[in-house]
Symmetry: C2
Subunit: 336 residues, 2 copies
Amino acid sequence: MASKSAPRATYAEIAKTAGVSEATVSRVLNGDENVHPDRTKAVNAAVKKLGYKKHRAASALASGRTGLIAVVIDDDLSIFADPFWATVTSGISRVLMENELQTLLMVTPLESVDGPVAHYLMGGEVDGAIFFQLHKDALIKRLRKQNLPIVITGTPHSRSDFPFVDTDSFGGALAATKHLFSRGCKHVGIITGDIDTTAGAARLDGYSQAYRESGHVPSKKLIAAGDWSMESGRAAMARLLEKGEGIDGVFTSNDLMAVGAMAAIEEAGLRVPEDIKVIGFDDSVVAQTARPALTSVRQDIVALGEAAAELMIAQLRGEEVEPRILKSELVIRETA
Amino acid sequence: MASKSAPRATYAEIAKTAGVSEATVSRVLNGDENVHPDRTKAVNAAVKKLGYKKHRAASALASGRTGLIAVVIDDDLSIFADPFWATVTSGISRVLMENELQTLLMVTPLESVDGPVAHYLMGGEVDGAIFFQLHKDALIKRLRKQNLPIVITGTPHSRSDFPFVDTDSFGGALAATKHLFSRGCKHVGIITGDIDTTAGAARLDGYSQAYRESGHVPSKKLIAAGDWSMESGRAAMARLLEKGEGIDGVFTSNDLMAVGAMAAIEEAGLRVPEDIKVIGFDDSVVAQTARPALTSVRQDIVALGEAAAELMIAQLRGEEVEPRILKSELVIRETA
DNA sequence: CGATTGCGCGAAACCGCTTTCACGAAATCG
DNA sequence: CGATTTCGTGAAAGCGGTTTCGCGCAATCG
């Protein structure tokens, strides 16, 4: 459709104006060391003069490298209404661009191992894929077998050796719970996220660990299950209150549930933080807009994306990569 | 990097097993009508049998069509912490995928007309570009001149003939303000967004229009400027209260400012909605988590993305396109 | 000092698909 | 019924890079 107002320079022209062969142009443009400095200079000059920009498709066809990295979002729970993934993605995109790579966004149900997405990824259309979430990793295992570089954002279930990046959920939960104790709470409860997710489990573990370290005795009655939603937080808190354990502090596994919990507390005629202190997780907008403002565990989400991209780039370079766990940090506001 | 475990079928093989020429294979695969049904069938059979998948790069090189649509986000205000754009993007991605197109995400400051992004877009690397926001449209004008299909999400400033999609800000603000009147408010104020944005201006216009239609007399003292942030909403509301116009209702141009306004109202010892009713705009998570729950103007954000993608596809087909304005809807909760 | 090695470089094949061109056969025309 | 169109098709020339191969030359070796 687009007309070629500026008839795009090619290797042929560069080669001619630089007085070298196209092969040499290619070498220079791909950083081959074994080229005489003089020619290198000549080529670079020609490139600048002609405003040359490499043609991706041609390059991809010849080399097999597309310069494209897929970011795959299983469109069930994900991006809708959750700023988290968007933020991660922007971090990824930034880093990839700096490395001459483009971000191909695929928001789609992951379906079977041979849905269209799977074929696309296996068909060599991209140089690598970064996945969000991970309920089923059959597809990923398959891709791995094909040597497609993969990075997972979030901790995978199987302890396969997938390269992944994640926030330190355990540490964050540990710190949050300890903070509640240090503020004088005696009976600290937890509202968990979906325990089937690794993040949900890790946050519960952190909470338990804090109990163990504090010398306090934990009670199963102080543990209530949520599913990350605000409504589940409200319901879980209501249950916690009913049990009459004298709960005076609660760590909720995300901010949304914290807000729900605060509503339940208020409905019970109690006050935050005077009667019950609350700490969330994520430090999302919601934490900042809540009243009273919510104390929460912050994750550096952009950094998470950047780390994912860096892991991908390392793989592309053929380096061995280790999973990366990012530190979380407690942001103290009014609720605890 | 990825090894070819399955040595990818090519036209050559298909042509051979179907007993036709490669040219015919191409015709069939690109929907050329002028091919004998028998051959068409033969080719399709061969394709299925061999599990053939077209090689994008090769196709792009030969045809000049990349099958890639860029989604460009000016990384200043945008994606960070704002679920809005992410949601739009997921709508775009879904529709593009259904049409065999891929979404290339570019999160980056738009800088000058000849930054790297500009070059990328002008270099024929993509078949079209969808832009979010629009502070400066110099780049876009330039791209348009090159015949690159463009769609803008949000209303552009210049009344150039860019194809764009947007939510009916004016109508939403009108409905919200009228609703406040109908609930008995006599002195309805507005906290505007950045007036330099078309959305900010349109929402103010809708508010003014409601005043005109209602027969009430508007007062400049009831208009306070915000900048979309929660803090600006709080400050604006404080000013509104000071002016002592007996304000009893306020329409804020987005949810974040509404939450800020509610905080200010509470700090002034007044109550929502008993003393002052509040309506926001966007119906974001924040509206749902606020207490009392915020009445707000909902936009169908996914639909907005889908519309953008559809406009793009129409252009790719060479059709003439009209801007598309999507209806907004008042979601009534507790604050008004 | 003749023989071997290594380095820098150009010629040319190639990546896989698209598209122009021309040709033979079938359909339409005068 | 010969002449002109129309239609379906294959051969082949690209599209714009990358990469292998081998050559000529200078450096190194015996």
